[in-house]
């Protein structure tokens, strides 16, 4: 791999930028791999990277039906935080957040991690108690966070209408180590680093069946022919149930549209991330100056990568209550992704009823922040057959045992 640095940038500038290497190859699929990862988003590419780097596997392929990073990796609102209520979630999301801090150096690709802080607002007494409880739970388990009074919030975010008559801001949690990152760069960085370790990334290759013999997976059928594999790791996000159906089992997952939108670019006006669960909206400003706005998922199951306009209008309305000055902005574009929501709003990193077939899904509306932690823990599961210590509670067994990880009320934006 050609190392990216200030020196290499200067060197190539003098040569007119005509001799940069391709960031990753575009190989033909081989007949057999040790591990096939299905899905080339951040989580899938990261899984392949950690399998190669930490577990010494060399014959790895990542299959992608569309293009690399074109699913939810390219469609989220790039927020990173780890202030979840339950211990299991806190452990896994904090592992991910700590990996973000050094990810650019790890993969030699600038993922533009910006720990600019995330505020979760509360607007009524019950909301307030929930947020205070979450901050205390986080502090008890070593996750950085603090509670802010309205006066402190006004000092942190002077441009916000804290005394908004309809939705007064009564308090907020603030995680200063949380923030944002460049979403595409995460997929590209992992892809380039994995490719350098010999991982074959094969785009436009749809998996349309599995070879299963005696309850064990032997390979996959694809639109580019059959490929054998000792192990298959599914990282399909919204299409988890579709792939599970092909392999002959069901999942506790429902796929829903989740929408987001960006405004025209502005001069810097918001230096943190504002989220409000009660009024279903969140907003941050990208480095290009656009306001990135998101909200709740659509109510119904859907695979269309678009949702209903009234849901989007609700998110915009919430943000305009808090920032009346944003009302005059024009919106540049809006889009939707298909998110895979589990009944307890927590992820599933698990073996499946088919031996040597593993699944990583259920990240729902908040998977981007978990990318490095999810990939690291899932690579551990696929390589060793047993869960990573930080992800032991996230297997499918929890739905039969009853030990669910309920993050519905604690996920800062209600689903």
């Amino acid at each position: 791999m050609q190392k990216y640095s200030a020196i290499s940038l200067a060197y190539h500038a003098f040569r007119g930028h005509r001799h940069w290497q391709r960031a990753w190859r575009s190989p033909e699929p081989r007949q057999h791999y040790d591990v096939i990862v299905v899905g080339a988003g951040g989580h899938g590419l990261g899984t392949a990277y950690y399998l190669a780097k930490h577990h010494g596997l060399r014959k790895i392929a990542v299959l992608e039906r569309g293009w690399l990073g074109g699913g939810n990796t390219g469609r989220n609102t790039t927020i990173i935080r780890s202030n979840y209520l339950q211990d299991e979630s806190g452990g896994l999301y904090e592992l991910a957040r700590s990996l973000w801090e050094t990810l650019s150096q790890e993969v030699n690709y600038n993922v533009m991690f910006s720990p600019r802080g995330v505020l979760n607002l509360c607007h009524d007494e019950h909301d307030l108690k929930g947020v205070q409880r979450r901050v205390l739970a986080n502090q008890a388990s070593g996750i950085e966070g603090e509670f802010l009074t309205p006066a402190q919030i006004k000092k942190e975010v002077p441009e916000m209408h804290v005394a908004c008559p309809r939705l007064p801001v009564l308090g907020a949690s603030l995680q200063r180590t949380a923030g944002t990152a460049r979403h595409d760069a995460v997929a590209w960085g992992y892809a380039r680093a994995a490719d350098a370790l010999g991982v074959d990334i094969i785009e436009q290759c749809t998996v349309n069946g599995f070879r299963i013999e005696g309850g064990k997976v032997r390979g996959v059928e694809t639109t580019r022919g059959a490929i054998e594999a000792d192990k298959v790791a599914l990282v399909p996000a919204g299409h988890a149930s579709v792939l599970a159906n092909l392999a002959g089992f069901r999942l506790p997952i429902e796929s829903r549209p989740l929408q987001a939108l960006v405004s025209e670019p502005l001069k810097p006006c918001l230096n943190t991330v504002i989220m409000s669960g009660a009024i279903h909206g969140y907003v941050s400003q990208s480095d290009k100056g656009e306001l990135v706005i998101g909200g709740g998922a659509d109510a119904y199951n859907g695979y269309a990568q678009r949702g209903s306009p009234h849901v989007l209008a609700g998110s915009i309305g919430a943000v305009c209550h808090l920032f009346p000055q944003f009302r005059r902005l024009r919106m540049l574009r809006s889009w939707g992704g298909v998110v895979d929501i589990a009944p307890d709003a927590s992820a599933i990193l698990s073996p499946t009823p088919v031996e040597n077939l593993f699944i990583n899904c259920g990240w729902g509306t908040g998977g981007f922040k978990a990318t490095p932690g999810s990939a690291l823990a899932f690579a551990h599961l696929v390589a060793n057959g047993s869960p990573h210590p930080k992800a032991e509670g996230f297997t499918l067994n929890r739905f039969a045992s009853g030990l669910i990880i309920d993050e519905h009320s604690a996920a800062a934006v209600a689903h």
Binding site: T206, N208, H239, S241, V242, N245, L246, R250, L251, P252, I253, E254, S255, A299, Y300, N301, G302, Y303, A304, S308, P309, H310, P343, F399, A400, S401, G402
Partner: protein
């Protein structure tokens, strides 16, 4: 916004309704005999198809009744609806990979 045909009130905007999940899930007849996994299958596991979906909606801001809807989860085309105790409209089942 979806235009949803309530069997009692006719076509109304989606904002009047609440989605109530997959339809046609029958409560087990022999609860004491079920294993934990069988309970999990009933309570949590869903088909979640990419294609024809049998689902329930509640006309919350209307007649207040639950009813069945058959909808395509890719095109959002609604094939029809029926009251809870009637059979859902027969449509060709479509499933995408």
């Amino acid at each position: 916004m979806l235009l949803i045909p309530c069997p009692w009130c006719g076509e109304r905007a989606e904002a009047e309704f609440t989605y109530a999940g997959e339809g046609g899930i029958a409560r087990p007849k022999n609860p004491p005999e079920l294993s934990d996994q069988e309970w999990a299958d009933y309570v949590y596991y869903r088909h979640n198809p990419k294609g024809t979906h049998h689902e329930l909606w509640l006309h919350l801001h209307g007649c207040g009744k639950y009813f069945r809807v058959v909808r395509d989860t890719v095109s959002n085309q609604i094939y029809g609806s029926a009251p809870m105790l009637e059979a859902p409209p027969a449509v060709p089942e479509r499933k995408e990979v």
